[in-house]
Symmetry: none
Subunit: 193 residues, 4 copies
DNA sequence: TATGAATGAGTCTTCATTCAT
DNA sequence: TATGAATGAAGACTCATTCAT
């Protein structure tokens, strides 16, 4: 169970992420975060040493978030299906957590990021990499550097979500399947054409 | 009398873009821009009313930049070749001008962006859209909403360039061709498989 | 928590008025006001939006000050005595509040004065005007435009106070009575000479 | 004959005085003075060492201006007539040169005034003082400290001119005579009433 | 703990003054 | 001599952080 204090911690955390998506890292003020979290500005300093500390904590937390932890057992499924499930989960995470992506992007370039956080790798990627390697070994996916494949998948996905946020695109089930098929065509080995 | 120096305008412009890529929009200070442009801080105010004005001018300028203006005549070429050339030019632009993309991304979310700039569309996209429509009509490219196709192309491209900047990926000729082929497989209509 | 301190408001107000008398509106700096009020520079901005706002607030407040509010009932007295009492109160106010007159004079010409304040009339004058009208009706005072009479009274008074400030003149009781008698001779109807 | 340079000197001088009346000493900028004088900002520095120097020069010049130099021979006239002529000349000077009074008032309180100028006496006053002494000796004028008499005359006069500038009062011939008669009643010895 | 008033270091911006032409 | 672009010191203002309550 969350204690009263933990609730405040979460409130500050959430306020930081959603405000960054609203006003950007340059518009992010401690007083605004406090207002958004519905507490006093001074209270933040009971939980975090200072602004830099707060933002780095938020960042590290987001980066370590296991977005595939909800996925359940999938190893027994065909590799294509595994890949689709991974993509689907990632897509749904990004749609639902666009704010988090924005915070990460904005903060990574800010002068406030700590050296430790600068070298932090996204946790969630490793799972996907493993599955891609397997698919490549099985001759289903083109033998391409994972960085490139993941750039295609993630770059596409993030751009899509931004378009959705701008209301120029709707991310319904049909669009989701279409987008995946595009990714799949991009990376799969295409036979006897 | 000294004549007003057009070069200074460019120096300020360049300093603003490259500094943003270095320290982020949140770390962007007028004094830093001045130092980077090798002028006095006050001089900036001869050319721009204030910080907000400067950043909006830089943004509007970048947005209106015709990245395909260098491409020459290509209408006589097969549509596939046209698409490749467009992609190639865009790719090379992004590799060479990664700073500009970063500035655009950072500034779009900042509270300093003017209402007029908020609704500004990227000029360069329309050319690509026209060519895609033609390719769809000819049955070469899947009949997919341009927003989605462009998300794939641009999202992938931008993510690649960021990876390249991080030195985890090298964007040589081979990689370039590989990436294009992935894009192409993603959007083309695949026959009798 | 500290409660917002009304005293600070007064301290800022007083510091602004007395400093203007000391260094003029051109020498008036926010940092000086803060030092004079014995607070931090930033604190001023808790109470006033900016320098212009502060000065206009001080001005409007001074203009609306009812300098005759201390005078008590005088309507039952002979009109000559009423006039003397009004003059006396005004004189004593100006001697005691020369700073305020200086602030008003200096600020009225500054480019910081707001349009609303530019058309603001001095509250305290109306009382005097009413009494003068009555005296004219009774045939005691010359039938002269009030603007002129008040120019004589106020112009004389302000000039006197400035001289007193410069230490070339002492405003003791005797001088006060003398000055009033001069005013009185200037405006009263003089009989069978 | 004025040389070309002398014209510029006068232009700067005039621009300084009239601008101060328009925007106050706090709004007085070298660039504005230059524009008003129709020269370049740098040019001012060919004639004056710096802003402080310019303003002090203007001030000293105004103070030493012999406003009674135009008055011609009046010693042979009755003392009352002499006094009237002096008053009249001063009045007309102030109406025509209200800007100069404003400059003097504003500058005297500014932190830019030099110590020498701070103790500078108005030249023109001495003439008036001499005549007043004579009138007192002849038993025509009350034996009152000259500071007080001059406060009445000048304070009244300046206030009148300000009212005239504000368009709440017209300073025509009739008003002029009326005002003088008020001054005269205030200072003359009034007989067997 | 929690508050938000108060602080003052650090920015932005202005404007007197210099200087290349 | 005259110009006005360029400079940078100084002043206005913001906002992270502290602290009295």
């Amino acid at each position: 169970m969350r204690t009263k204090d933990e609730n405040k911690l979460f409130a500050i955390f959430d306020a930081t992420v959603s405000l960054t998506a609203k006003v950007g890292i340059a518009g992010l003020k401690m007083s605004l975060i406090a207002k958004e979290a519905d507490i006093a500005a001074g209270t933040i300093y009971l939980y975090y040493k200072n602004k830099q500390d707060l933002l780095n904590a938020v960042y590290a937390n987001l980066k370590s978030e296991g977005i595939f932890s909800v996925i359940g057992r999938i190893e027994h499924l065909p590799i294509q299906v595994q890949l689709f499930r991974l993509w689907e989960v990632a897509f749904e995470y990004h749609v639902a957590n666009n704010n988090k992506s924005i915070f990460i992007e904005q903060f990574e370039l800010s002068p406030m990021i700590s050296p430790e956080n600068k070298i932090l790798e996204e946790d969630s990627i490793s799972y996907l990499q493993k599955t891609l390697e397997e698919a490549k070994k099985k001759g289903i996916v083109k033998p391409i550097d994972n960085h490139i494949i993941i750039s295609l998948i993630l770059g596409f996905m993030k751009h899509l979500v931004v378009q959705a946020t701008k209301d120029v695109l709707d991310t319904n089930e049909e669009v989701k399947l279409l987008c995946y098929s595009m990714c799949w065509d991009a990376i799969r080995i295409i036979n006897n054409e």
